[in-house]
């Protein structure tokens, strides 16, 4: 409900559908044996097929088919046992064939769905319309010459999966959650690295607005959004633009728009007379792709545990909240780390340590989890020391900072620095007696009814012990001694 937008004339609802282009992880291209590595010298990873030389024939890379099917299965989607490659015809300098080989009427993957996690812990199911395979185009470089464009065909022919959602999203936040979840799924199964900076994952957003409950409005497509932050900005800007146009009494013109991240606005990209007419037809160079059900079943059986299943398991097995579980499963690496820490230990304590101390320290040091100086077993060792009463939770934070700094095991640091918690009741009783003896007026005050003073006594003893006194025991002893004189 809160997703509705307020205009001058009433409330509006945003309707968003996303087309995500995900680069498939494979060594070679979709139809040629040229390499796909990022960052090679210009035109070094180009075969004559990728350069559109006459007479060259495409030959399908079976690993890319496997990746597309695995992705479809991970999206709970229907796998089409027959799919057809089609030519999408248009001219652009970075596409030397004069057509992109794509799939049109018969894509390899049909309808599916994914469950997205919203910040309040709520979930929402977003429909997937289809997934198809296609070739990427080359790269145009506009900034090396004032009047020329430079073309690098290294990316030409690299395999993309275009994943099309249904228009099921109602806010920029939901769109962001969708891309986040989709990215997590792709990374879990290893079909795309999800690197938005390098362009391995990019989204086109179809945005329209309507009065709540009414028919869909005319949409505009915002092309090539290469970060989640820009996507949110672009969607919000675009919806506001459309509402203003309609409220001013005009109509939305269906068009393709670009997001200018510098100005934070979208602008029209192609003029109307240039409206696309791709004249798709089945590619005569490629036979229909046929898959056996047994092949699909085998791939399904080999999929790893996916984020949604893992989240449910973490909630049930470890008693985590929906929010905590969704944070911990967002990356497979994080989930594995957490599971190692939590195994055989207090899982809520483990979740807290991973999510607050560890993530906090990593963020501050600008390190990724794989670069963490504290390994999962090592963090587990620290939690064991808290659990068996060797150190207090407060001291543990100092020990953790030390571990993060030096990479040493918790037990060694505790030993070296003499940080063991004092749980010897004789020593603690002496400390309690000393503080009470030194502050008779406060003792009297407490006994006169000011029971809040117990906190002050606690503080004195903890301070005197350098934080090492066992706080539960001190608390208990203090109550006994102070209340004894009532």
């Amino acid at each position: 409900m809160s997703d509705l937008l307020k205009g001058r004339t009433g409330e509006w609802e945003m309707v968003i559908g996303l087309e995500v282009h995900a680069q498939v992880i494979a060594d070679a291209k979709l139809f040629s044996g040229a390499a796909t590595d990022f960052g090679a010298e210009p035109n070094e990873q180009v075969s004559f097929v990728d350069a559109g030389m006459p007479g060259m024939l495409p030959v399908l890379n079976e690993a890319c088919v496997e990746q597309a099917v695995r992705t479809g299965l991970a999206l709970n989607a229907e796998i089409n046992l027959q799919s057809i490659f089609a030519r999408k015809n248009y001219f652009y300098p970075d596409m030397p064939q004069g057509y992109q080989i794509s799939q049109y009427e018969d894509p390899i993957v049909g309808e599916g769905e994914i469950v997205i996690d919203l910040p309040d812990g709520e979930t929402r199911t977003i429909g997937i319309e289809r997934l198809h395979m296609e070739q990427d185009a080359g790269k145009s470089v506009h900034d090396r010459h004032p009047t020329k464009t430079y073309i690098d065909l290294n990316r030409s022919g690299v395999t993309l999966m275009e994943i099309v959602s249904k228009p099921d999203m109602r806010s920029a936040e939901q769109a962001a959650a969708y891309v986040t979840k989709l990215r997590a799924i792709l990374r879990y199964i290893g079909s795309c690295d999800g690197n938005m900076q390098e362009g391995s994952l990019r989204a086109d957003a179809n945005v329209s607005v309507r009065r709540p409950g009414e028919a869909l409005g005319t949409r505009c497509e915002i092309k090539n959004l290469n970060s989640i932050r820009f996507m949110r900005q672009a969607i919000d800007y675009e919806a506001a633009r459309q509402i203003e146009i309609i409220e001013d009494g005009s109509e939305i013109e269906q068009e393709t728009r670009l997001f200018d991240s510098g100005r934070g606005e979208t602008r029209s990209m192609r003029s109307k007379e240039d409206a696309h007419d791709y004249r798709y037809f089945p590619d005569p160079d490629l036979l229909p792709l046929r898959l056996e059900q047994g092949y699909v079943d085998a791939l399904k059986a080999s999929l790893p545990e996916l984020p949604e299943a893992k989240k449910q398991r973490f909630m049930e097995a470890f008693g985590l909240s929906a929010y905590d579980a969704s944070v911990l499963v967002a990356e497979r690496e994080t989930a594995d780390y957490f599971e190692t820490v939590a195994e055989g230990r207090d899982s809520k304590l483990a979740a807290n340590w991973v999510m607050s101390e560890l993530f906090g320290s990593l963020n501050k040091a600008e390190l990724s989890l794989s670069e963490s100086p504290v390994s999962a077993p090592s963090l587990g060792g620290l939690i064991d020391l808290i659990a068996d009463g060797t150190i207090s939770g407060r001291i543990a934070k100092d020990v953790f900072a030390d571990m993060f700094e030096t990479g040493k095991p918790a037990a060694d640091i505790v030993e070296e620095k003499g940080l063991k918690q004092v749980s010897d009741s004789g020593a603690l009783e002496a400390a309690v007696a000393e503080v009470m003896g030194a502050n008779p007026d406060r003792v009297a005050d407490y006994r006169g009814g000011n029971h809040k003073l117990i906190g002050w006594f606690m503080g004195q003893i903890m301070k005197a012990s350098g934080g090492k006194a066992n706080p539960q025991m001190v608390n208990q002893l203090l109550r006994e001694k102070l209340d004894a004189g009532d």
Partner: protein, 95 residues
């Protein structure tokens, strides 16, 4: 189905083929003849018949995911009208 002059002009533009204004009308006639000829196929009842995609029922040949091509920028660029720093060079394209 019948093509008019405007449609022929549009198809020519999409295909990046320059057709002189006075050639459009005769070309429309020629194309309409071809379309008319192909349209005879509509006389055959194909209800329920799956489309035939190949004359030989055969599996498409697939390649394994092995890098065995590329590393020949010089040959790839050999026919380029203009090149620089190992890039193809074309007139400025700005969206």
């Amino acid at each position: 189905m019948s093509l008019d002059k405007d449609t022929v002009r549009r198809i020519a533009t999409l295909a990046r083929i320059r057709v002189d204004e006075d050639a459009l009308e005769p070309l429309a006639g020629e194309l309409n003849n071809i379309l008319g000829w192909v349209e005879q196929l509509n006389e055959v009842d194909t209800e329920g018949v799956p489309s035939m995609t190949s004359v030989v029922e055969t599996e498409p040949f697939k390649r394994s995911d092995t890098v065995d091509d590329g590393g020949k920028a010089e040959q790839v660029l050999a026919n380029a009208p203009e090149e620089a720093e190992q890039f193809f060079v074309v007139p400025k394209v700005v969206e």
